[in-house]
């Protein structure tokens, strides 16, 4: 079946089998391998993308249901060579070790930070309940999200 949706700001028209997952469509057919599949059982959060501005698990989303939707993957965050403030914060605060969970961590955190300009570490940890880091590097991830949230809102004020 044919679906049309916005992907990282560009219109996409693609034929999908009804059982195809969004994670499979992005990675295997559209070449966007920044979205990672960790557990494939809806638990680890490495595959998180945004659908209509909200973070969702792409490994548990049927591509067929995306007709008319707006999808943003990790590849859609940066503005050309300029990293998104949340990406920049993860870079500066060393919010990653092996990096496998990072795309999902960042996509989840961007939704959180939109509504939380100055989050406490507890609030960040609570929000990231659905994102696992198997390097257990949570300390720097929490610092990164706090810094990224502040940077996102500073940028908004300056704009």
């Amino acid at each position: 079946m044919q679906i049309r949706f916005q992907l990282n700001g560009k219109p996409v028209t693609v034929d999908v089998p009804p059982h195809e997952l969004l994670s499979e469509l992005l990675r295997d057919r559209l070449g966007l391998t920044g979205t990672h599949v960790g557990c494939d059982t809806s638990q680890c959060g490495a595959c998180v993308v945004h659908v209509d501005g909200r973070s969702v698990k792409s490994c548990t989303t049927l591509a067929a249901a995306l007709e008319g939707a707006t999808v943003t993957s990790i590849e859609g965050l940066a503005d050309g060579a300029a990293l998104h403030p949340m990406q920049q914060a993860f870079h500066e605060k060393h919010g990653l070790q092996c990096g496998f969970c990072t795309p999902g961590m960042i996509m989840s955190s961007v939704e959180f930070a939109k509504n939380n300009p100055d989050p406490t570490p507890e609030a960040v940890r609570h929000w990231l309940e659905g994102n696992f880091c198997r390097c257990t590097g949570y300390q720097n991830i929490v610092s990164s999200v706090q810094a990224g949230a502040a940077a996102m809102h500073a940028q908004r004020k300056g704009a």
């Binding site: 989303t61 067929a64 989840s108």
Partner: protein, 270 residues
């Protein structure tokens, strides 16, 4: 995953005829339980009828004495709704504690209710609050709806359209969740309703149930002390890798006391 037909009807009559067209067709809400089941081949429907394209199934209405939540309303929307936070904060808190943020952004109340997972949170709220389940065929009382493990009073092809919650005098929910799945090992919902104290327990057995012993103790005096010394039978309680039956029986008492303390501390009396 085995393939299937996918349809996204725009009206309830279209959805009903799509479901009636095949006995193996399944209704799809947020997919947070059904899509993982498809991937594991625990479910192999001939067709998925996605209910999220039907506008009247989504949204929240507040009346003088009830909150009516459309079947495809997400947990995130219930958790953040100002009127629910004001009139029935225990329900907003329950919705905000389901799974993780990404599950709450997709999962729907109608999907949870129709699936009746023995560890789901919402069934405890429906049963304790005496909610009614509105469907394409009429209405079910929560007392008669949850009939067994993943079993409900829904007939084949019947679609949940909304849940109507009467607003209680006071209510609170407490759960002890599995740190891995974030499902309730045990969850206890306590409500002071027009018809008296109602207490529902989820996670502990094969299906949500009312705890009459706790209800009568709290009916005499609404205080956590009323539950001290009560012993809960392990008959019929779940025993699995997460917890044995005696631990679950113990948790029922602990969580009921915590819920009563929370309910009294919030002081919310409608």
């Amino acid at each position: 995953m085995r393939t299937f037909d996918y349809v996204r009807p725009a009206t309830l009559p279209e959805a009903l005829s799509a479901l009636a067209a095949s006995p193996e067709a399944r209704a799809l809400g947020g997919g947070m339980s059904l899509v993982p089941a498809l991937k594991l081949r625990l479910a192999a429907p001939s067709a998925l009828v996605d209910l999220r394209g039907i506008p009247e199934l989504r949204g929240i209405r507040i009346t003088d004495d009830a909150i009516v939540i459309g079947a495809t309303t997400t947990h995130a929307d219930v958790a953040a709704h100002p009127a629910i936070l004001d009139r029935l904060p225990a329900l907003a808190a329950l919705a905000g504690g389901i799974g993780d943020p990404q599950v709450r952004n997709c999962g729907t109340i109608g999907g949870v209710v129709a699936n009746n997972d023995p560890s789901a949170d919402y069934p405890a709220a429906l049963l304790a609050l005496g909610a009614s389940i509105e469907t394409s065929r009429g209405s079910h009382a929560a007392d008669d709806f949850f009939t067994g493990m993943f079993e409900t009073a829904l007939a084949p092809g019947e679609i949940v359209t909304a849940i109507r919650f009467p607003i209680p005098k006071q209510a609170a929910y407490e759960k002890f969740k599995s740190p891995a799945s974030r499902y309730a090992l045990v969850g206890v919902f306590v409500a002071v309703t027009a018809g008296g104290v109602r207490v529902a327990v989820t996670g502990a057995a094969s299906c949500v149930f009312r705890a009459e012993m706790i209800e009568s103790a709290l009916g005499e005096r609404l205080a956590p002390e009323s539950l001290e010394g009560l012993r809960f039978s392990t008959d019929g309680l779940n025993a699995d890798m997460h917890a044995d039956a005696p631990f679950r029986a113990h948790l029922i008492g602990v969580l009921a006391r915590r819920a009563v303390s929370k309910l009294l501390a919030t002081g919310k009396v409608n």
